[in-house]
Structure formats: structure tokens, C-alpha cells
């Protein structure tokens, strides 16, 4: 509620204040993780609006009139691309914006979406590229270049910010690699219903196996539960991250019966709010890493 009010207030503020030379560069980012990148590069020179806020699902989002207004007034609109925000193209068109639309994944080697699990993505590509820190650096470079193009006066500042942030990302990358290497190779497997971690798997070698035949909407049948248990036993999977089996008693039963550990909450598509454990991209990656390490270290 608060964020919506803020958005409205921001929209009003944009409408009322006369445009001056010192006006910050208005930019829009589609979702929270991308917004965090943009904020880190743009620093104080930009006025950032993030359309889908923390904990929001950017796959299915219905834009509000306030969003259209923000997009219309923006100088740059950052999107993830790779078919992540299917609704964005229409919003850009409907708002009639003259903004430069930048797909932050430009230059990322896109993976194909795994068959069957990526039901949200009709096209073939897996858009969750930020789950690899190497890709995150490409995001940052794209954002830096776009900001410089739109606001040449701030070139030095953007470059400085980007260098500092890229160094942080390098540190994060090393951290994840070290932690992943500390887990015995045979134990680098988890069952998770998150279908957004393929890039993480490719870069850091933790294997993510999706549970068979479990859906959030319906009550689990004995066969669903039996299948998961068989799978965990057969593939000797040490941990389960089954947030979308929303009955905690059932997850506990599965864990008890297989000896697998229950993992905590993972963040994959959106950041948490400021008080949560994944308020920024770096926090999010660290948080997920900690969850994996805690569940997989014996």
C-alpha cells in the first residue's frame, strides 16, 4: 500500500514540479533486482522508479495508470528482456513514451528455458540471467552505457559508480565460488520448485532438480508425495527447498522420511523489502548461498 502511495506521490511530484537543469534523470526499471543495479550505477543523479516492487512477481503484473505516467516521463526504461516482462512492450506503447528502452541482458549468453518447468515463459529463453554474477556484470555495463548516453554530463560519476559496484560483484562471485567449492561434489544437489536458478547452476555447479508432479494449487495426492520421496532417495538429494508445497507439515514428513534437510526461503525473481534478508541483489545472492550451504554441508 505504502509503495503504491509513494508511486502516486512520485507521479504527482513529477507532474507539478517544473523541469529545471538540476532535475534528476528520470529512469524506470521494471523489477526490483534490476532496480537495484540501476540504483547502484546511477547513484544520486537519477530518479528511479521501480514498477514491480519487492516480493512482486514480474512475470504476471498488471500495470497501473501511475506506471504508464512514470514510463511516459522517463528518459530511459530498463527492462530485463529475454521475454521476462511480457507486459512491458504494451505499457511502453500505451504510454507513448519517447524514452530509450534498454534491455539489460543485451550481450548475455541466454540459456534455453528448461522444458516443462518454465510454463510462465512461452518463448524459449530463460530470462533469469541475473542468477549468475557474471551476467549481473553485463547488466551493470549495459546500464552504465545507457545512462552515459542519456546524460553525458554525468559520465565520470556513472563510470565511477560502475567500477566500484563491479568490484563488489567480483567479490561476490569469488565468495559464491569458494562456498560452492566447499560443498562435497556429490552433495551439490537440491530439490526446489524454483525454476529460476538455471544460470546459478551453470556457473556454480549446484544442481537444481525440480520436484515431479507438485503443484501449488491443488491438495497433494499420495502419488505426488510418493514420487518426490522416490526421487530424493534415488538421486540421494541432501536437501529440499519446497516453498510452493505450502503445507509445512507435508514438507516435514517428506524430509523425515528421506533424511533430506528442509531448506529455508530462497529469493529468485524479486528482492525482499528493506527489512528482509534480501534487500539488495548482493544480499539476495548471499542469502541464497547461505541457505544452500546450511542445507548441503553435512
Amino acid at each position: 500500500m505504502l509503495t503504491r502511495r509513494l508511486l502516486l506521490a512520485a507521479a504527482l511530484a513529477c507532474a507539478v514540479t517544473p523541469v529545471t537543469a538540476q532535475e534528476k534523470l528520470p529512469v524506470v526499471a521494471t523489477f526490483s533486482i534490476l532496480g537495484d543495479f540501476v540504483k547502484n550505477v546511477g547513484g544520486k543523479r537519477i530518479a528511479l522508479t521501480t514498477l514491480v516492487g519487492p516480493d512482486g512477481d514480474a512475470h504476471v503484473y498488471s500495470a497501473t495508470p501511475a506506471d504508464a505516467k512514470n514510463v511516459a516521463e522517463a528518459k530511459i526504461v530498463f527492462t530485463n528482456g529475454l521475454g521476462f516482462e511480457g507486459w512491458m512492450e504494451r505499457l511502453v506503447k500505451a504510454s507513448g513514451t519517447k524514452a530509450m528502452v534498454v534491455a539489460a541482458t543485451k550481450g548475455v549468453r541466454a540459456r534455453r528455458a528448461a522444458g516443462g518447468q518454465g510454463k510462465d515463459h512461452d518463448d524459449e529463453l530463460d530470462p533469469h540471467a541475473w542468477q549468475s554474477v557474471a551476467n549481473a556484470k553485463i547488466y551493470v555495463a549495459n546500464i552504465r552505457d545507457a545512462l552515459i548516453k542519456a546524460d553525458a554530463a554525468g559520465k565520470a560519476e556513472y563510470e565511477g559508480n560502475a567500477v566500484a559496484y563491479l568490484a563488489e560483484l567480483d567479490g561476490l562471485d569469488r565468495e559464491i565460488r569458494t562456498a560452492a567449492a566447499g560443498i562435497a561434489p556429490a552433495r551439490r544437489k537440491v530439490i526446489t520448485s524454483h525454476d529460476a536458478l538455471a544460470y546459478f547452476q551453470a556457473d556454480y555447479g549446484i544442481q537444481f532438480i525440480s520436484p515431479q508432479g507438485v503443484s501449488t494449487e491443488s491438495e497433494a495426492s499420495a502419488r505426488d508425495v510418493a514420487r518426490i520421496i522416490r526421487q530424493i532417495r534415488a538421486q540421494k538429494i541432501p536437501a529440499v527447498f519446497l516453498e510452493n508445497v505450502s503445507d509445512p507439515r507435508l514438507v516435514k514428513r517428506i524430509a523425515d522420511e528421506t533424511g533430506a534437510k528442509i531448506g529455508g526461503t530462497l529469493f529468485s525473481d524479486a528482492l525482499s523489502d528493506a527489512k528482509g534478508p534480501a534487500a539488495t541483489y548482493i544480499d539476495m545472492m548471499r542469502h541464497n548461498l547461505r541457505q544452500f550451504a546450511a542445507a548441503l554441508m553435512s
Binding site: S218, S221, R223, V225, D247, L250
Partner: protein, 288 residues
Amino acid sequence: MYDFFIAPFAEFEFMRRALVGMLALSLGAAPIGVFLMLRRMSLTGDAMQHAILPGAALGFLVAGFDLFAMTLGGIVAGLAVAIGAGVVARATELKEDASLAAFYLVSLALGVLIVSMRGSNIDLLHILFGSVLALDDATLILLAAFATITLGALAVVWRPLVLECVDPGFLRSVSRAGAPAHIAFLALVVLNLVGGFHALGTLLAVGIMMLPAVAARFWATDITRMIVIAVALAFLSGFGGLLVSYHLAAPSGPAIILVAGLIYLVSLVLGPVGGLRRRFAPGRHLEA
């Protein structure tokens, strides 16, 4: 044969636990169902079922998925409604069914309100649908304890209870045990519904109580035999329902109740006591 009937239970502990849970539930709930039916209170179970929701919801609100809190809350709320309705029925002009309806409707609305305060309605669905597949040690012990209490208490109040089913006027003329027995019986109803709600959820728990009891009516005239048959049918429903859930990937709670419903239909058609077969194909007329 083995693959179909035994293997699921041999391979998976959760299936064995579910089966044990259903056995405990059958032993407690089915006899209660028989008495409810004989006393023409078949729908009381349904009403009481709704009445325990706010208690369970309150327990859930305070402690989350905590067995003890939800059980205690359910029992307290159920007893409050049962006794409240009983007191109003005895003290005023209102009949028991009417006062029960009033109490349980208020109680149900309160329950939904409390659950919604927690926000997510996924949680509400889990309260309503329970999970026989996720019975842990504590829940199994609880179910077994409820079954034990029920059977023991039934043994104690058996005579007044049976008499009140058959001839309440006579019972009143010879004994004052009627009212205490009635209260104890209502308490047992609440106890078994709360137990059933852990295994099957609030909506379906009353099914495992009433359907086998009603089906047993078609197989026996003697109350003792009727209870034994009801327990057997309830357990059979549990067993069959779990197999259906396992082989056809159907949600387990509804599967169990639907098997019980199927057993009821079969009994209705084939049962030797007052069933359809008797009506349309009567046996040979006995001549003295």
C-alpha cells in the same frame, strides 16, 4: 495384487502412518456416528464441525501450525457451542436444532473472520483440508488417544446412551443419567471431530464419522453389530481412499470420503436391512 494393495504401504512410511491414523479415527469416530444417526442427529456432526473452526483458527493464529494450540482451541470452541446450544434448548422455548444452528453459524462466521485476519487464504485451505499424508508422531498419538478416550467413555455411558436412543421417556422415568450422558456424548462428538480435522480437515472429518455409520445401518439391526460394521467400513474407506489417492493421484482427503460414499451407495442397494433390494425384491414371505 501385492503391488496394488500392499506395496504402497510397504514402501512408504507416510502411507503406513496415514493408514494407522485412519484406523484410530475409525475406531473413535464411527461408533459416535452410529449414535448420532440413531438419535436423529446426523446433521449435528456437520454443525459441530463448523463450530470448532474458530477455536482451531484462533489456535492457528496464536501459534501457527501447532498441534496442541489448534486441538485445544477446537475442543474449547466445540464444547462451548455444544453446551451453549444444550443449555439454551433446555432453558428456553427454542429446540436444540434451532439453537445449535444459531450458535454454529455465529461460530463459523467468527472462524472465517479470524482466519482472514492472518491474511493468506492458502492457510485457510489447509485448515479446511488437513492432510492425512502428513501425520507426524504427535498427531498419531493424539488420534490414538482420542480413540481410546472415546471407546472408554462409550463403555461407561453405554446403557443410558442406548436407552436414550430407544426410549428417552422411559430413561427419564427410571434414571437421571440421561443429561450427563448426553453432555458426555456431545463432548465425544467434539473430540472426534477435532481428531478428524487433523487428519482430513474440517470439511471432511464429519464424512468419516457419518457415512460408514449410515452405511452400517443397512447391514445390521443390533447396535453392537452396527458399530463393529461401521468401524470396519470406516477403516475400509480409509484404506481404499489412500489406494485411490496413490494410484490415481487424487487428493487423499476427498478420495477417502468418496470411497466411504461409494460404500454407502453399495450398502443402500445391497444391504439386507431396509435397503433397496429388500424393497424391490422382497424375500419370500415367512409363514407361521
